[in-house]
Subunit: 300 residues, 2 copies
Amino acid sequence: MVIECVPNVSEGRRLDVIEKMATALRAVPDLRVLDVQSDAAHNRSVFTLAGSAAGLAAGIPVLFEQAIATIDLRTHQGEHPRMGAVDVVPFIPIDGVTMAECVALAKSVAADVAARFNLPLFLYEEASGNASRKNLEDIRRGEFEGLAAKMAQPAWAPDYGPAAPHPTAGASVIGARMPLIAYNINLATNRLDVAKKIASAIRMSSGGLRYVKAMGIPLEDRGIVQVSMNLTNYEKTPIFRVFDLVKREAERYGVSVLESEIVGLVPAAALRQSVEYYLQLEGFSGAQVLENKLRTPHEG
Amino acid sequence: MVIECVPNVSEGRRLDVIEKMATALRAVPDLRVLDVQSDAAHNRSVFTLAGSAAGLAAGIPVLFEQAIATIDLRTHQGEHPRMGAVDVVPFIPIDGVTMAECVALAKSVAADVAARFNLPLFLYEEASGNASRKNLEDIRRGEFEGLAAKMAQPAWAPDYGPAAPHPTAGASVIGARMPLIAYNINLATNRLDVAKKIASAIRMSSGGLRYVKAMGIPLEDRGIVQVSMNLTNYEKTPIFRVFDLVKREAERYGVSVLESEIVGLVPAAALRQSVEYYLQLEGFSGAQVLENKLRTPHEG
């Protein structure tokens, strides 16, 4: 079982503090620290962890303990919006684990952390049963500075923990979501209006595909434009459907797709589903990928 | 470094003999026995091994030693053509290794085995510098029974070892090749002539793509026909090109592609190249596949 977890912590300048958190996490069994990215301007660090449910259930409270002991949001400044010392903790199903299991993990970790540190916890995305409290931006709006007033409203009572913010660590958001895919399509034109119209056509917020966020932007050094996207659930809104729809929309403006790009990581299953679509492949499974077989401990 | 090796041994009935070979191979460091398939009608077993060059250089002579001690081709019978106790040994580059390195490994193992066991060895496929001695079927034609007469011809002097067959173990064929992909395309028709014409159009032997072997066959239980293929070098003749060409050829007969299928294993790179083609993906690498990142021992 592999669950990815990407906690965002409100400290991006004191690298000794971040390194101490990473060291503590590395000591937790069944948990691996794959990456740590700190941004001084945002004053924020992003940990990429992978592990079993047990490894993450043990590790995340360790991270909270360190963050609460070292971060004081009353004096924290940075460009990125935030409301907690540990700001947001998403659990992401990768291999041999369901979304339902990640939701259960998010809830049990949230309950545990709330009780241990007397900290308000909000559930989000798949872990939240409340449609108006699924979106991180909605929950975090007002940030740490507006949190006491916001939590005074009944609609913003936390899912776990006390009804008022922690004095220095604010409140945290924990949940479960699918892996994000950052996917861009470059158009063979410099017409920004075309990229913006296509982005508007394909994104959910203006009537497009359910799990697409999109905007049209210029790539000025190349004299072309881009439809820049986040795909938030590749199982339900697959890459190939996004690509084909953008290509079709571009045609009506007489514009060609120059190329597409995946930025950062992509689950193997998202690639497989596109191969299966274009090759009309039936009955294929990830177990047929040679490298997976070579990695299997089993000897036949 | 991962090299796959798929030795074929001329014994498929005495399973205790095969199991003893597998046990001996499992004791070799840097070598894994992924699979053993024995076929009684063919009287032949296929081992699937994976390891480093050092692991395979140590393991393959172990397999020869056991096979030569236990197999006597003078009394061997089976449906599958064969000329050696260990009949054929292909080395296949998988990860972090070049074809040139697999060719070098094939030659050094062949020289080693020839010297140790006084056995004639023929190089084939990428390891052979002789165009008329690349194809396994050409080298093996005449089988064990015709081998002495064949080797008496100067054109069939072996690459290593004595000029005459081993009395009980014949001669062996060692070489390097790309992974094979067994790829079939099913057509929405029962017209066998269409499947045969398309197979003829796309296979190398009748003027088609360089690394495609193809035949048209009926799938009688389903009332449809199939273009059944082996792709022998997916880097140079990619799956997507085969699919698109078959689809185009089918159109001229008014026939649709119903589906395609990959039988058995496929390298991840062969799937990636098809995704890259259909999505016009630029600058993508296998390192961006999330699962590969999760498996990396490095911590960032």
